[in-house]
Symmetry: none
Subunit: 296 residues, 2 copies
DNA sequence: TTTAACCTGTCAATTTTTTTACATAAGATA
DNA sequence: TATCTTATGTAAAAAAATTGACAGGTTAAA
């Protein structure tokens, strides 16, 4: 069926074995056959177990692997794992390119790749029940809601603030400058909820604030990265979001994704109330003529 | 064909960890978090390597696994391998949903769907050569760069401002309130570049500002939605971004995606200069001790 | 402040795995 | 047949991994 190999070298370890089948002696063939039929899991056990599984001695396994180019059993297994890693993180469903007219290496394609990978990882890491519990907290309007972010993440706090203010009452954004935070802290009562953003590098002011918040009995919902901000020690709920870009930069897109998911979830939960607030807001805007009139 | 679930309790090991997150102490959380982030490959190395990878001791790994019900590290690894075996023999089911442990209708899965659809559409609509031309404009530091957004999108202007200020000089954010914009307009010279955000509902203030900007000879780069803001009439480059959420809400995630792609592209273009600025910034932060020291 | 409980790491004992050295057997060649 | 080569296993040494005992440190409670 497949008559032309695309690459002569550098393919899977399985192919390497298959292409050199005539190299092996009978006992070695027994091993290779076993490896190939239960590929790749068969190679992930100890050399002892592997040799038992296919009825040869451990030195035979060693010799076979050396013959085909691996320095030791250990290096063989390591390469096998890397290959498996590849397979797992590069599922077939993945789109070849996102921006079809741009080359694969174009920045738009690279960033799209990174972002979707981050999204996938983050969603695998975050428990949806925990997410729902957060929405429960936010939906309870007996307690005020406050938003706080760091140097980079304060933009997200703002974004969330704008939307949450439409959805429910009693939503407050911390002031821009940290020196004003103490004043704001005074307003916070026990069981108030604070949504906080802190990604690396973790900021001293935020850590201090979180300690004070905890002391006042506020509940912190923390957006952080996979390495967990120290604020996590004081938070009620922690969302560890994968923010890593390949070449050093950190991406905020997935963070915004979760913020937005919260907005959607909360809006659905409080819809009857929200729709009323939205209508009022529309009326307000009409009066101030801040927005362009609809064309139709 | 197969209508009965094979195991009713067939939780993956990942789910087991996620469901018992409150059980763990800080060091144990570090481990669990690492395991989940690089799941499942992270668990396929020796206990020694695993402990080194996430910065805890081997006994901590043991205790964590025992606490959650595994008799030993060895049994944990064996079960993990069996699970992986399963996954490998059933590869398609994997990316049906984004958050694998949540039902398809869960808000996280719906928003993830919407966002990726929007991303795909937007990337098909936007010419990558135009994107590159925008980067050319931004890379030219003879002219100042200004940022301006609306009620909701000002958060993006802010985010972009924070990052662009690290990358190049002469980057300025418009003030918060529209009444102060005239003052800021005075500072803008011919051929200065203005990045502007305007999505529906289009704001009167922004339209006015864009007319004035054009009159002063400034070049506008416009982030807008698929229905195009009236500002597009005055802009040099327009990025029509698909922002539509299924049930009425508008998503900002893809907008941020393009903003971030700009940051990455520009950073790469100006890297020698940027890296210098970043180092200086780091030194500055060290002096002010604003950030938590690296734990090392 | 003291005490107790708990967290977490170091270190060492024990077990397992990996690797090497060597021996035996089978078959080929002279 | 004698000898050499190749194939393969046994067993022991070396390396590494797993596990348990213990102790310093930290936090919470009295």
């Amino acid at each position: 069926m497949n008559n032309t190999p695309i690459h002569t070298d550098s393919h899977t370890i399985a192919e390497l074995f298959r292409s050199e089948l005539n190299l092996f002696s009978p006992a070695e063939l027994k091993l290779v056959n076993y490896l190939l039929t239960n590929y790749p899991m068969s190679g992930l056990v100890s050399i002892t177990e592997l040799s038992e599984n296919c009825g040869v001695s451990t030195p035979t396994v060693m010799r076979t692997l050396k013959r085909i180019g691996f320095a030791s059993f250990t290096t063989f297994q390591k390469e096998l794992k890397e290959e498996l890693q590849q397979t797992l993180s590069d599922p077939i469903a993945k789109h070849d390119r996102w921006a079809a007219d741009a080359p694969k290496e174009h920045v738009l394609n690279r960033v799209a790749d990174t972002v979707t990978t981050n999204l996938r990882h983050s969603l695998n890491q975050i428990n949806h029940e925990q997410f729902d519990a957060i929405i429960d907290l936010l939906a309870n309007q007996e307690h005020a809601l406050h938003l706080l972010g760091g140097r980079i993440t304060s933009a997200f706090a703002r974004y969330l603030n704008t939307h949450l203010n439409v959805i429910r009452e009693d939503v407050h954004l911390f002031p821009e400058t940290a020196s004003l935070w103490p004043h704001h802290l005074l307003k916070i009562k026990e069981n108030d909820v604070v949504i906080m953003f802190d990604v690396r590098r973790y900021e001293q002011d935020l850590i201090t604030a979180s300690r004070l918040l905890k002391a006042r009995g506020a509940k912190i919902i923390l957006f952080t990265d996979q390495w967990l901000s120290p604020v996590a020690d004081y938070s009620e709920h922690t969302l560890p979001i994968r923010i890593e870009g390949k070449s050093g930069w950190d991406s905020g897109v997935v963070t915004l994704f979760f913020a937005e998911s919260m907005i959607v979830a909360l809006e659905e939960r409080l819809w009857s109330q929200t729709s009323k607030r939205m209508r009022e807001l529309e009326d307000m805007f009409d009066l101030t003529e801040r927005f362009k009139k609809k064309i139709k």
